[in-house]
């Protein structure tokens, strides 16, 4: 599988380039600085500083209600769909602020794919599920090839190649979730966001998805929210630990290499959480 020459994705071609945007190799895909989100005036998360790098899996862990999903949804502007959601701070994607006024959230979502907690295939055939994204994006080339490539990347091709015209609803839950991953890959995004992608799946399906994530890491930046600490430890390269303060506002306690977070965390709260003393 030959990958196209990696180009720095551009959100809004007409927009002036951000002043501090050197396309250096170590530049993170996402750089969050002082990000806060409030729903209807009530803050949900605050002061989030976070980097997401290419070819790495970044895990967001922490107790329920600490804002992991909220932060994840800032990265593809899905928070825009929530009435009264306000996002502050800077979310820089390759140096471009995706919340700048000239940026269309639709353009952001073309470059930043997402997989949801519960598999949500469209009520269509397997083929049409994959082809939906490329079609709405007006991608050129043979749709058969685009669909096959996406299914191969999601390690699903051999299982479904003989029943592409059948409804996606006939697949098992694990297959549906891999279909959703393939669907996200079909539009050639640069980042994949995953919101607890295995929480509705059995252990065998979970293992297959984890294998897939490690495979996909070669070509994509992946951000995964998970409640399963073993999962974070198994698949991620870097981990951010979230918690809530006294006012129930979520924030990042620390972010570091996954090994360090699990074996030698800097903060006692992180240690208490990863060793299962609280949670």
């Amino acid at each position: 599988m030959s990958e196209p020459v990696v180009q720095r994705p551009v959100l809004a071609p007409d927009a002036p380039p951000a002043p501090d945007a050197p396309a250096s190799l170590g530049e993170p895909v996402f750089r969050l600085r002082g990000v806060g989100v409030a729903y209807g005036g009530t803050p949900a998360v605050r002061d989030i500083d976070l980097d997401v790098r290419a070819n790495e899996i970044t895990a967001l862990i922490g107790p329920s209600g600490c804002g992991k999903s909220t932060v994840l949804r800032c990265l593809n502007r899905m928070n825009d769909l929530v009435l009264d959601a306000r996002v502050g701070g800077q979310v820089l994607y390759h140096g471009q602020d995706i919340y700048a006024s000239h940026v269309d959230p639709v353009e952001v979502r073309k470059l930043v794919g997402m997989v949801f907690q519960k598999p949500n295939p469209f009520p269509k055939s397997i083929f049409d599920n994959i082809a939906f994204g490329p079609r709405v994006l007006g991608m050129k080339g043979s749709m058969d090839e685009i669909v096959e490539r996406a299914l191969r990347r999601a390690a699903l091709w051999d299982e479904v190649k003989d029943r592409l015209e059948q409804s996606a609803y006939g697949m098992s839950g694990g297959q549906q979730q891999r279909l959703c991953i393939a669907r996200a890959l079909a539009t050639d995004p640069d980042v994949i966001l995953m919101d607890e992608p295995c929480s509705a799946l059995d252990p065998i399906s979970t293992a297959r998805i984890e294998d897939l994530l490690l495979e996909l890491r070669r070509n994509y930046a992946i951000v995964i929210v998970t409640h399963n600490m073993q999962q974070a430890a198994r698949v991620s390269d870097r981990t951010a630990f979230f918690t809530v303060d006294e006012a129930r506002v979520g924030h990042v306690v620390e972010m570091d290499a996954t090994e360090r977070i699990f074996q030698n965390p800097a903060d006692p709260r992180t240690e208490a959480y990863v060793t299962g003393k609280v949670g």
Partner: protein
């Protein structure tokens, strides 16, 4: 004394349960028997005249020669045109209210409240509105097919909007989010995912609304549909009559033969209604989805 023994139901509880079941059965029977009795009596009364002549002949002062063709064609024209007007407008309004309208805004709440209320307005009121607005006043269309279709459209529009909204709301948000997350615009999401998912519900609701329109006589009497019409409508500005009005007309004649003819026309109307409902059921079953 063992506490694990299952106590038998008391005599009284059993009797109450049986009584309740019987009461429910009687309720169902009353509804079904009334319907069967109605249909049977119509079939028996209209029996001698249920033949090709009812469909093939035009109204006449001689009951032996009279048929309902102009009324049947009038009904098809008026209801067909009503469908062409209400379905796009109704679906459009439903999409706006469900997908675009910000419910926090007072004008959107006002629109919603109005639509709910309009569904409950008696049909004769729509007839008066149609007479003043479409036939005479503002549009001045005269007593035509178009004026009748516009009036019936107003009448059934609230029903179409409400049922389409239900159908759109039944499409889960996970489908919308899935499409939006792939970089689809809001319009692409609605057009390619939400509306196809809502088609069965919208089709059923629209057909049921049109079944109501097909049986309406009151507003069309006001619009001048009562005239003696011996030709089929040919254009939007043709004069017209419709089946319920033709039936009403015949029943009010003194001659017994016209009453028989009216019964035969009722059978035709019932067949049209049953056919439309059958299409609705077919569409619902064919496109039914589980989310």
């Amino acid at each position: 004394m063992s506490t694990t023994r299952i106590a038998p139901a008391s005599q009284r509880e059993r009797a109450l349960g049986g009584l309740f079941r019987a009461a429910l059965l009687v309720s169902v029977a009353v509804g079904i028997l009334t319907l069967v009795w109605l249909i049977l009596s119509i079939l028996i009364e209209g029996g001698p005249r249920i033949d090709g002549d009812v469909i093939a002949r035009f109204p006449s002062s001689n009951p032996e020669l009279a048929g309902a063709q102009s009324a049947i064609m009038g009904t098809i024209w008026v209801v067909g045109l009503t469908a062409l007007i209400t379905i796009p407008v109704g679906v459009g309004a439903a999409v706006y209210l469900e997908e675009y309208a910000d419910r926090e805004r007072w004008w959107n709440r006002l629109i919603e409240l109005n639509i709910q209320n309009l569904a409950a307005v008696p049909s004769i009121v729509y007839g008066i509105l149609g007479l003043a607005f479409f036939v005479r006043g503002f549009l001045g269309l005269g007593q035509t097919v178009l004026a009748a279709a516009l009036t019936l459209s107003l009448l059934v529009l609230p029903i179409v909007i409400i049922s389409s909204r239900e159908a759109i709301r039944a499409v889960p948000d996970s489908i919308r989010h899935g499409a939006l997350a792939l970089g689809a615009t809001q319009w692409q999401t609605i057009w390619r995912q939400v509306l196809p998912g809502a088609i069965p519900g919208m089709a059923t609701g629209s057909i049921l609304a049109l079944s109501r329109a097909i049986g309406e006589a009151a507003p069309l009497v006001l619009l001048g549909g009562l005239t003696f019409i011996t030709f089929n409508p040919e254009a939007l500005d043709s004069a017209f009559t419709v089946l319920p009005i033709q039936i009403f007309n015949w029943i009010s004649r003194p001659q017994e033969e016209f009453h028989v003819l009216a019964a035969a026309a009722i059978v035709v109307l019932l067949v049209l209604l049953v056919a439309m409902n059958a299409v609705a059921i077919f569409l619902r079953n064919k496109y039914q989805r589980k989310w």
